[in-house]
């Protein structure tokens, strides 16, 4: 449990809490970006270099921007009206609390957790590439097909938007 690890942990958790609790949506988005970069730092500490950089590229680079765009497009940049929570918010928090206690209890005293930390695995880009291309080639192609499908769907989406505006 190196100090650096704790710091990044705290940073991500704070980012997450703020992302969920701030009133202004843009602030939430930025807090989320902070949380994601914190998680990327955690990845780097867990010697998953490629995933860390990918995390930054995908989440902080693309999804944050996407969400911010969405916020602007739905004109909810300004401070919202009086209450920010839905009607049944208390039950929601209760359930999440229960979920956390369950997971925490499971993590803390489950016997299956190995005590010693194994040596840092070598996850160079080459053997990630090899793994991708040999063992995991099928999922790779499926994901590519999936993203293609999304793009095709979005294209129709935009067409609807145009039609939406016209009508």
């Amino acid at each position: 449990m190196s100090p650096f690890f704790i710091i990044t942990g705290i940073v991500t958790l704070l980012g997450a809490v703020f992302a969920m609790s701030l009133r202004n949506l843009v602030h939430c988005a930025l807090a989320m970006a902070v949380a994601f970069s914190g998680i990327a730092a955690l990845y780097l500490q867990l010697d998953a270099q490629f995933v860390g950089f990918a995390e930054i590229l995908v989440y902080v680079g693309a999804i944050a921007i996407l969400i911010v765009f969405a916020i602007l497009l739905t004109r909810s940049g300004e401070a919202p009206e009086k209450s920010v929570l839905t009607s049944g918010w208390l039950a929601g928090i209760a359930v999440s609390a229960v979920v956390f206690t369950m997971l925490g209890w499971a993590v803390l005293n489950s016997s299956a957790i190995p005590k010693e930390t194994p040596p840092a695995p070598v996850a160079t880009v080459k053997n990630v590439g090899d793994a991708l291309m040999t063992k995991f080639v099928l999922p790779l192609e499926i994901i590519a097909a999936m993203i293609g499908a999304v793009i095709i769907a979005l294209k129709e989406e935009s067409k609807n938007e145009n039609s939406g505006r016209k009508s």
Partner: protein, 398 residues
Amino acid sequence: MFDKLDQIFVTALHWLVGFLPDAWRPLASSLICIAFILSVFPAVFSVTTIFERKGIGRIQNRYGPNRVGIPFTKIRLAGFGQFIPDGVKMLTKEDIVPRAADKIVHFLAPVVMLIPVLLTYAVLPFGKNMTVTDYDAGLLFFFAVGGAVELSVFMAGWSSRNKYSLLGAMRAIAQMVSYEIPLILSAVTVVMVVGSLNLNDIIAHQNQYTFGIAHWHVFTPWGLVGFILFFIASLAESNRTPFDLPEAESEIIAGYFTEYSGFKFALFFLGEYLGMFAIIGLGITLFLGGWTSPVSFLTWIPSYVWFFTKLMAIVFVFIWIRATLPRLRMDQLMNFAWKFMLPLALINILVAGIWHYMAADWQRWLVCSAIIFGAYVVFGRGLMHNQKLGKRIYRYAE
């Protein structure tokens, strides 16, 4: 002798670090490298601002700044002292924050701008084994961190609660996002041929000489196209002239940093230029052989010298382009990216693939160049046919 010269900085570093106990060595060495970067590149920044203003002046048939000299003396250093008063001006100007602005985000924007840009320098190889951190997935790190810049642009644009700045920010983000893809794809061609994301491997791949000429990627058909795409994309990434719509003075004043003044503006300005230098540095390492010399008999010149000369050469080209090319409209800009750059980049990947698998002889050259020429003509015609470009007609205000 020349090797020692070449490794002078590295030896200096090791020498300095030697004083410290082992536990602290890595920290110390990284701090020293950071210091080195923070000192060298702002210096280069200030010099380029002057080059730029003098260059544009010269191109526009006028002198650039030549008044600033050593105070209380007549020597006017031909304008090269101009960056000092500019800097002082920036620092002393009053920092105005609009009332309606979102204080925190407004303040954070320049910071968030600078952090990723500086982080990108961690990966660039300035000279032989002179890279701050040699990541295995260096290129990915570079693009990952580079991608974060758009977030700051947005923060700036949005936080200043100014329609123009918001509009400018949106345009900037759109442009950066749409040009990021050709940028990455052209880089991907290099990765495909070299087979590794590590920048030093890429340079090592280019560090061979036949008949005296280096194996730079730019001398291969796909390499040339890749470099050109990369060059254009980097222009767009750093919001430089043909694509400098966001902060076009004549359009929407200063784009996303209209509401910034004083030191924040200076930071934005510095961030922009540092971003430009980083992108050019990457371009050099990918296509122009990084710190390797173009010809075999000049290898005695130190590696960092090569790196910085190439850097300044391309900066000069940027300045040149800024002075000559007109600004593109937003839809032309977007069309150019999606309809021309992206397809050509994909074709380039295909060519790189063919290049990689064909035997190294003249047929390979013929096939690849034929494909690329064909693609260029097709896409070019695709772009041209709806522009009814007639003969240029000059219209003067009556």
